[in-house]
Symmetry: C2
Subunit: 254 residues, 2 copies
């Protein structure tokens, strides 16, 4: 934990999409948004995945936007009939859906050489009233920012462009730092050590992540802190403890 | 949608783990659980990811177990100090944590040739009072079933073993079938077609999944239904529509 006075900025991510819930598509946005938020000094505190149903999306939007400093959504802002995230967020906020003139201009420009702006494509200029745009250099269709809600595309490469556009624009705290040590260690052999080292370093949290690889059992231990000095001291203590048990380990993890 | 009388069985998944929220670990359990549920005739209706905090886990457990027929959890049932899922589920249900005698016997047997059962390993025999076990051939440590809650390991390969042990044991409905067609098609060119075809086939839902690949834009269209006949008719209608627009497409998707 950081110093008591320091505010911890939090965010939630709402993944909108039947394709994730059906198992058809392997989600890539959770890890991507999580990693990006770390660098902004914002902690991802909850993720929800809901189906393409307006009421379900709207309920989740209202639960999450009021519980955390920021809400990010991915999915459902394209041109087809199953793209209903704008309608859901507008319903959640109690505002109408309007055509954003700048979004319309961006799309007109983008589709000038790509077959023209038809009715489906114009759907991508629809925003909840009062929204700003999040630029997207890749597909032309912008993301949407309204209040503390940031609506992004579901395609991970496009969501990445939108995150890039938002980099440095959101207020955050000290970024959460982390350091890893790992080895061909059974976590049940070091459970006491992990608990004791964590207890002795209040500004740090230690996570233990076991794996099976090449037919063998191993684990990585990740120390997280917003305080670089405490993080280093905690890592030294953990490595000393592993060495005292005669265990081989690799700094940086395996 | 299936026939009006048929019950749709639903499930939620609660992913417990700071490692997912930090972006350190790419989640694999959502897609795995989702795909497995499809085959059981159970629809994954919501996913939440929460941090390793007892109160947060317990709140999510109570919200999800009462909203859906089944709740699955992954993560936090190992031997280390950050494995607190059992405590959280027990708190949610208002029951004490007890040592399950059969789990203890399994662990004693498993660790007989692996250094013996220490206190940390014995943690993996802790269950909310009243729980049954879900066998795991891989790591020895079992999963836990209590009421409609199924607690599984966070390591995807172990979670897979536990799902395998549960196969065919949960009541479900007709499995949701799906069929895919795709091409180097801009979804904004076919948005009207998708809407019309879906409207004409009430038992089917069509999802549109755009992608960027090899510098080109394409999309796959997935039709889902519990009715195989309607699914086939809907697919025929969609392919006829694509052909009428002069678009090239591939059955099965690209």
């Amino acid at each position: 934990m950081p110093g008591k006075q320091e505010k911890i900025w939090t965010a939630a991510l709402l993944v909108i999409g039947d394709e994730i819930l059906s198992g058809r598509t392997q989600d890539r946005n959770i890890a991507q948004v999580a990693s990006w938020l770390q660098v902004q000094g914002i902690r991802l505190a909850e993720v929800r995945v809901v189906p393409d149903v307006i009421a379900r999306i709207a309920d989740a939007v209202n639960a999450l936007r009021t519980s955390y400093d920021y809400l990010f959504t991915t999915g459902g802002i394209g041109p087809t009939h199953d793209d209903i995230s704008v309608d859901a967020v507008a319903a959640a906020l109690g505002v109408p859906v309007v055509i954003h003139p700048e979004a319309r201009a961006i799309l007109e420009d983008y589709y000038q050489t790509r077959g023209g702006l038809n009715e489906a494509r114009l759907r991508m200029a629809r925003v909840p009233e009062g929204a700003e745009l999040i630029p997207d250099r890749m597909s032309g269709a912008p993301g949407i920012k309204i209040g503390n809600i940031h609506m992004m595309a579901g395609v991970p490469a496009i969501a990445a462009q939108m995150l890039d556009a938002l980099t440095g624009t959101l207020e955050g705290g000290a970024p959460l730092l982390s350091d890893t040590v790992g080895g061909w260690i059974k976590e049940s052999e070091v459970a006491d050590l992990l608990r004791e080292v964590e207890k002795a370093h209040e500004a740090c949290q230690i996570g233990s992540y076991p794996f099976f690889r090449e037919g063998r059992t191993g684990a990585n231990f990740v120390i997280r802190s917003t305080d670089a000095g405490e993080l280093a001291r905690c890592m030294d203590a953990l490595c000393d403890g592993l060495a005292a048990k005669g265990l081989e380990f690799t700094r940086g993890g395996i």
